[in-house]
């Protein structure tokens, strides 16, 4: 019942506020989509105006009447100014960089202003009681980038949700706002778990603590140079003997690359496994060790570099979500 009434309210409010999800950028704030109501300060101002009027009547103060009416007119005019402060802003979504769970996701909105200067235009998540707003000024014929920061609670694809663009400038008597929803999302990687320890030497093996420790590795053999190998690995002496560009290989086994295997982490829950795997991905990148990733149904061939890392992290982030959205 409660769910039903909430859903109904949501539908009605969506209809009133003309929510279309997601919207095609850029969204221009026309008078059709800007709403305006007095603020609490506005109501208090109206109360003070009544006091001024009563005092003017009571003491027959003509200048008191003038003051009362000047302020009342000012209040009315300020509504137009508040409206004007939002009207015709053209809003587009900016690029959202992935982040880790527990870190901050930065959503960006680019606001273009075709008219007069705008001041103190705020953005916050809609329908949230204490959503922290971000404010910005937009110069005439200029653009401004407003970034909205939210804590990424858990891994997955974090939706930005509907945003409220609002302003109370110039005098704070009215609150003008408009909703936009571009369906912006932020990819949230699992929070890396340092408890995972050092990199597992072999994921295909039994998983007995046979660990490759940086610094005490033994020289194994030479192989031909592959793109992505670091300068440190190049066998300079071989090059000097004109044997071609060879690369020194280290480690205990020659055949197996480092495999980060979900299935190998026995005794841990799903999220714990993902957190450890994330940590290892980052560690392997740091140690410049090529690595592969095995998740149930997914296998990433061993490699290295930024692109490989991002792909692996994305698999980890979205593991278990069929449609790519957070549960």
């Amino acid at each position: 019942m409660g769910d039903f009434s909430f859903a109904l309210r949501q539908r009605i409010s969506d209809w009133i506020f003309r929510a279309r999800i997601p919207e095609q950028p850029p969204v221009v704030l026309t008078q059709k989509r800007i709403f305006i109501i007095p603020t609490r300060t506005g109501y208090f101002f109206a109360f003070v105006l009544v006091l001024l009027l009563i005092a003017s009547v009571n003491y027959a103060l003509s200048l008191g009447f003038l003051l009362t009416f000047l302020l009342a007119s000012m209040g009315g005019m300020s509504m137009l100014h508040t409206f004007r402060n939002l009207a015709r802003l053209s809003i587009s979504p900016g690029r959202t960089e992935p982040t880790f769970a527990g870190d901050i996701a930065h959503f960006h909105l680019v606001m273009h202003n075709p008219g007069v200067a705008r001041f103190s235009v705020g953005v916050k998540r809609a329908k949230l009681r204490d959503a922290e707003p971000t404010f910005g000024d937009i110069a005439p014929t200029g653009s401004s980038n407003l970034s909205l920061n939210m804590i990424a609670e858990s891994r997955g694809c974090m939706p930005c949700g509907r945003l409220e663009i609002f302003t109370e400038y110039p005098v704070g008597l009215f609150h003008a706002w408009s909703y936009v929803d571009f369906g912006m999302t932020c990819l949230v990687y699992p929070k890396p778990d340092p408890g995972a320890g050092a990199l597992p030497i072999s994921a295909t093996g039994s998983g007995e603590g046979n660990i490759l420790v940086a610094g005490d590795e033994e020289f194994q053999s030479l192989r031909a140079y592959r793109a992505g190998d670091t300068l440190r690995q190049i066998a300079w002496k071989a090059l000097a003997r004109e044997q071609g560009l060879l690369v020194k290989e280290f480690g205990t086994t020659t055949s197996a690359d480092l495999w980060l295997d979900y299935a190998a982490l026995v005794g841990f829950g799903v999220e714990q496994r993902l957190a450890r795997l994330t940590w290892w991905v980052l560690e392997a990148e740091r140690a410049l060790v090529p690595y592969g990733l095995k998740l149930p149904g997914v296998t990433m061939q061993p490699s290295m570099g930024r692109q490989h890392r991002d792909q692996c992290l994305e698999r980890l982030a979205l593991y278990g979500f069929q449609d790519g959205t957070a549960a």
């Binding site: 001024l52 005092a55 009571n58 027959a60 200048l63 007119s73 100014h81 005098v171």
Partner: protein
């Protein structure tokens, strides 16, 4: 969005300064310690904002507030009433500054600051006060705008300019409200009248009173005659009639209102309109002798005109008078008896002198003539008569012989009573100055005057002005002519040979008079009159509401439409505008840039089609490309360079 970060040093400085401006006119009336508390609270608040300190706790604030209330009670002996109320409001609002922790608190202070601005009008509603308060409201709104600039620190211009525009745009609607908002007359609840001294005549007169009043330049009332202004010798503005001789001076009898006028008019009626400055007394002034009465007023048996309520605000009324008249020619002996009483214990020589004169001149008319001759011969008119002792009239008549109008009127009336002729002192104003700009007669406190009326059989009450006998100039040409310039202002005007100051003074007075008529004096009656002027007699509130809504719609809607039209006009960036001007130059030579043509392609076409412009155009277009696609760091300078080049470009 409520956060304490709104209380920046700049915002707090503005708020404290704006409040200081609003409170400043009150300082002359506040007890010194209250002003000191306000100053200290403002400085303390500023210090807190400057050094990022904590605001004082509620215990300290409560203690201060209690001390202030106690101090107010000691000072005023009450806690309710206008003076004490205003004082408490001012001091508590200053304390609220100290208690301010959030933006919302600042808003409360600013809004109550508007109310404080209104309290200044309780004491003065002049043009200057109005203008000063407009500046104060401007500052308060500029402060308000500063508090609503959340993410950036506004400059002084960023505060004042939008606040000024906002106020300017509100003025048309304010005017509509002012004239069309249905006015309710009278107080909603009875207001205790705090004793507020105003200059003007009083209900008693002793030697020295009127000469003191005569040093004031303040306007008493202004008069607009329907026809020509009567002769100066006829301009006797009748005020309080003092029939009771008591002690050193004269006082009013408690007279009853008369139900009908009993006068014989000997000259045609003069019609005029009086706009009176508030004097907190009930008397109204009319030329001797009023033939009709304004609403809410009545006439006493001694032809004094009274309003039913004290004149606490500007009051305007239309009235008629006959300057030649005969009143109470059939006066009854019992009624006249009270105008023969006098205190025989003081001024014995004067009383003896009166009796002696009566024996010498049994005909009262001759007696009056002889006394006038005496005044003319032996006495001197002066604004600074020497002080008099316990028998003032004796000392004056037989000693100093230097006096002002109240000396002459008082002594003459007493002599007449001693001689058995009913007599009374009439106070009011004599004369006035015609302002050539507004064509109005301006009567100032300096024109305050006292004369006498004596009752003669068949003639009734007859005006006798002994001052006229002493100094005919006073009556014929006015105060300044008789005694030289009065007051600082008159002195300045007197020194002004070219007449510039005088004409400025006249213009200023005319402006004030219009201000009084259309702003200060605009009340329910004037509003009804205005609607009658529109052709709507007996306007009801429904009609007024329709007019008001219509007016607000026109004024507010008009300004609003212009505002939004300007907001909806596309602004071009200065770079684009300059580039368009450049293209327009070439278009005039027949070289029109296609909408999709890039600047570099356009330059190639210029090279082909108008080689004579190529060299200059290349400079402009290179600068344009630099400005348009420049890295942000050098944006401003490359934009400036381009705009300069584009402006200088002339096609050959």
């Amino acid at each position: 969005m409520i956060n304490s970060s709104a209380l920046t040093l700049a915002n707090v400085t503005w708020l404290v300064a704006a409040m200081g401006f609003v409170i400043a006119p009150h300082v002359q009336r506040l007890p010194w310690w209250a002003s000191a508390v306000c100053l200290a609270a403002g400085a303390w608040r500023w210090w807190i904002a400057r050094n990022g300190l904590r605001t004082p706790g509620w215990l300290i604030m409560g203690g201060i507030a209690f001390a202030i209330t106690a101090g107010a009670f000691v000072e005023y002996r009450k806690l309710f009433g206008r003076e004490v109320g205003v004082m408490l409001l001012i001091v508590m609002l200053c304390l609220k500054l100290l208690e301010m922790r959030m933006k919302r608190d600042a808003m409360v202070v600013i809004f109550l600051g508007f109310f404080l601005a209104l309290t200044n009008f309780l004491y003065s509603q002049t043009i200057l006060m109005g203008a000063y308060m407009l500046v104060c409201v401007w500052l308060l709104i500029a402060t308000l705008i500063g508090f609503n600039r959340i993410n950036s620190e506004p400059t002084i211009r960023d505060r004042l300019a939008p606040a000024g525009w906002l106020l300017l745009q509100s003025i048309p609607m304010m005017i509509v409200f002012f004239f069309l908002f249905p006015r309710i007359s009278g107080p909603l609840w009875s207001i205790p009248q705090d004793g507020q001294a105003r200059t003007g005549l009083s209900d008693s007169m002793s030697p020295g009173d009127i000469s003191k009043l005569s040093q004031s330049d303040a306007v008493a009332f202004r008069v607009e005659f329907e026809g020509a202004v009567p002769n100066s010798t006829d301009l006797y503005w009748r005020g309080p009639v003092l029939g009771m001789q008591s002690g050193r001076g004269w006082r009013m009898y408690d007279s009853l209102p008369v139900s009908q006028f009993k006068y014989t008019a000997l000259s045609p009626e003069v019609k005029y309109r009086v706009t009176m400055q508030p004097h907190n007394k009930t008397w109204l002034f009319a030329l001797d002798i009023p033939s009709s009465l304004p609403p809410n007023s009545f006439l006493l048996t001694d032809y004094q005109m009274r309003a039913s309520e004290p004149v606490n605000s500007l009051k305007a009324y239309s009235i008629g008078s006959h300057v030649n008249y005969r009143i109470d020619a059939d006066g009854s002996p019992t009624e006249l008896q009270k105008y023969l009483n006098f205190n025989s214990r003081i001024n014995p020589r004067t009383i003896a002198f009166g009796k002696e004169m009566r024996e010498k001149y049994p005909d009262p008319k001759v007696l009056i003539e002889e006394l006038m001759k005496m005044y003319n011969r032996e006495f001197t008119y002066t604004l600074e008569p020497p002080p008099l002792g316990d028998n003032p009239m004796d000392e004056f008549l037989f000693g100093t012989k230097l006096g002002f109008c109240e000396h002459y009127a008082g002594s003459f009336a007493l002599i007449m009573r001693a001689a058995g002729v009913p007599a009374r002192v009439v106070t009011g104003y004599q004369g006035g100055e015609v302002n050539p700009v507004s064509r109005m007669l301006v009567v100032r406190q300096a024109e305050a005057h006292a004369w006498t009326e004596v009752w003669l059989p068949d003639l009734g009450w007859l005006r006798v002005d002994p001052t006229f006998a002493v100094s005919p100039l006073r009556i014929n040409r006015g105060m300044s002519a008789a005694l030289g310039p009065v007051g600082v202002f008159d002195n300045m005007v007197e020194a002004d040979k070219l007449g510039i100051l005088r004409s400025l003074a006249y213009t200023w007075d005319a402006v004030n008079s219009e201000w009084n008529r259309w702003v200060v004096g605009f009340n329910q009656d004037r509003q009804r009159g205005m609607f009658e002027g529109f052709g709507i007699p007996d306007v009801d509130w429904r009609t007024m509401a329709m007019w008001l809504i219509g007016g607000v719609f026109v004024a507010g809607g008009g300004v609003g439409l212009v505002l939004l039209a300007l907001a909806y006009r596309n602004r071009k960036s200065p770079v684009d505008a300059a580039f368009e001007r450049f293209c327009a130059q070439l278009a005039r030579q027949g070289l029109i840039r296609a909408k999709t043509e890039g600047p570099v392609d356009f330059l190639k076409r210029i090279e082909r089609e108008r080689p004579q412009d190529y060299a200059e155009a290349k400079k402009v277009i290179d600068a344009y490309v630099a400005a348009r696609y420049a890295p942000t760091a050098s944006e401003a300078s490359s934009q400036r360079r381009f705009i300069q080049l584009a402006r200088r470009f002339r096609s050959a």
